[in-house]
Every structure is written in C-alpha cells, then in structure tokens.
Amino acid sequence: MRKYIIHSIFLFSVIAIIVSCQNQETIDLQNYMSNGKDIYKAKCQNCHGENGEGLGQLAPPLTDSVFLIANKNRLACIIKNGVNETLVIHGKEYREKMPAFPELADIDVAQVMVYVTNSFGNKQGFVPYNQVSTQLQNCK
C-alpha cells in the first residue's frame, strides 16, 4: 500500500511538472506572438502585408509554409540581415532586396520570427530566444 502511494505521488508530480512546463511554453508563445505582432506591424507589414500576402512581385508572401519550414534555420538571419537573392515562393521568383534591420535585438528577431511562423496559415510552434541568438551568431 505504502509503495503504491509513493508511486502515485511520484507519477503525479512528473505529470504536474510536464503540464506546468507546457504551460510556461504556451505563455511564452503568447508573449512572443503579441510582441511579434507589434514589431511586424511597425517594420514588416508595409512590404509583406497585413495578412502576409506580400506586395506584387516587389515583396514575397509569408504564406509559403514549405519554404518557411525548409529555411527554418536561416529565418532569423534573413530577418536581421535582409536578403538579396532569387527566392522561389509559391512557385514564383522574387529578386528584390529585403533591407537589414540592425536595430532589432535578438529577442525582437525571435519574437517577430515566431509571429510570422505561427500566423498566415503557418504553424511551426515556439522557438526560444537563446536558440535564435545562436542562429544569429552563425549567420553567413
């Protein structure tokens, strides 16, 4: 009987820890999403549109989940340093230059990246700030 109680307490606390961890992650995700949205509106929406629809051939949409997943590990670098190459988004070629945003701190980049990759039909989930920091240190 004693053994049984100890076992169930142990099991219970493991479950509690997992649940509370998940909760912490959901809370972080919500924070990132709401701050990320503000940054998006201020810095990105002019080109990429309110719903990530892009602007003609001048700026690509942010709705191509396949591209965003395939380029997951360089999104932070794209956002911080801009990009100037031929990108194929939804099967269309884009060649305009995206400007760099040196004024964005690592945490800002993380937040706006999490916002983009979890809006407009994307669902990549949470990426913590320290992971984004590491990516930013290794930009090519």
């Binding site: 002019n46 080109c47 602007l55 051939q57 001048l58 700026a59 400007p99």
Partner: protein, 216 residues
C-alpha cells in the same frame, strides 16, 4: 400631441436640408488664392477667386517617352512622390494607391502620376520594372523621372508636398506620403495620407464627388 407632430416635422425638415446639402457637396480648394476682377461679355465687372494651379510640366515616363501635362489635362488625377528603393512608407502608399487604381481603372477621366525623387537611381527602366512588379501596366498610371530641381520644385511649390535628400534617413531621402487630388482645371482639391487606410478610403469617396462637379 401637437408637440409630437411638430417635433417629427422638424426632424423631417432637418433631414431633407442635410441630405440636400450633401448632394451639393464640393471638395475644398487648397493652396494660395487671390481675387481677380474680370469683365463678363456684357462688360460688367465681376470678382473671381483664382486658385493655385499646377504649372506645365514635362518628364520622362516609365517607357522613356517624354510625357507632359497634356496627358493629365482635362482629367482628375492623383499625384504622389516616392522612390523605388524606399523601404519605409512607399510600399504602404502604393499598396493603398493600388486599391484606388483598381477601383477607377476603367474610368477614362481618372489618372495616376507618381514622381520619383531619386534622380540618381530611378531611371525610366527602373521605374518600368517597379511598375510591373507592383502590378501596373499601361498609361493610366504614369511613373515620372525628372531632374532633381524640376521634381523638387514641383513637389514643394505646386503640390505642397515636402521632399528632400537626407543622408541620415534610412534610405537617403525623406518625403511626405501624401496622395494629392487634382481637378480637371489643375487645382488641388485634396491631400490624403497614403499610409493611412481610412484617408485612402476617403480619397475613393472624394474622386466621384469631384467628377460630379463637372457633370453639371
């Protein structure tokens, strides 16, 4: 009882007055004005208000063709100042202006004119590429290239839009994002912040009002 009837009557009356006012709605005039005395055909002296007008102009358009005020004469048009490498307000201005363009695309009395203020880089072929990528084709929306002096003077003196070079600005230039509405007699009839959706919506409502002034 009498009270009720009279208050209904007053309501009806004010509604008719208000709605009749609306039908006669005229857009305001912007810029300088002065009074001029003229003689009419019968030789009687009359005082007329004369409003500021856009002078003659001549620039290269996105097809490298010399384009002058003749292309907009007798039309209502929307003018703005931008440059293709602008990464801040211009994309928003032109995203919004696109919606106006699409709404009046088939109206032969309406035109669009965008002047670049980047005289160094925005040659006509750059403007052409920009227009195509924005999704504009054809002569209804002209993208115009001219010397610094001619464009900046036109902006500041005639369209009342501030423009300038500024090495401290993110893209090297500063300018206001106004969409300026010009009537068929080259007078300024409205200025709308092209970065604000509600003001652009107002522009869409004001263009038909301005066109209606000429229908009488």
């Amino acid at each position: 009882m009498n009270k009720i009837i009279s208050s209904i009557a007053i309501c009806m009356l004010s509604i008719t007055i208000l709605s009749s006012c609306q039908q006669d709605k005229k857009l305001p005039f912007y810029g300088e004005r002065h009074a001029e005395t003229k003689r009419d055909t019968a030789g009687i002296e009359k005082i007329d208000t004369v409003y500021q007008t856009i002078p003659n102009w001549s620039f290269l358009n996105q097809d490298s063709v010399v384009t002058t005020n003749k292309s907009t004469d007798g039309k209502v048009y929307v003018a703005d100042f931008f440059f293709t490498s602008c990464t801040t307000i211009c994309p928003t201005m032109h995203r919004n202006l696109m919606t106006v363009y699409n709404e009046f695309k088939t109206n032969p009395d309406v035109m669009f004119v965008s002047h670049t203020i980047d005289f160094k880089y925005d040659r006509p072929y750059v403007l052409k590429k920009y227009a195509q990528k924005l999704g504009v084709d054809g002569p209804k929306w002209q993208f115009l290239y001219g010397s610094k002096d001619s464009v900046y003077t036109l902006a500041e003196k005639n369209y009342l839009v501030a423009v300038g070079e500024d090495s401290t600005a993110k893209d090297g230039y500063i300018h206001q994002g106004y969409l300026v509405l010009i009537d068929k007699d080259r007078r300024i009839r409205g200025a709308y912040d092209g970065t604000k959706e509600d003001q652009v919506e107002q522009l869409k409502k004001d263009i038909p009002v301005l066109l209606a002034e000429y229908k009488k």
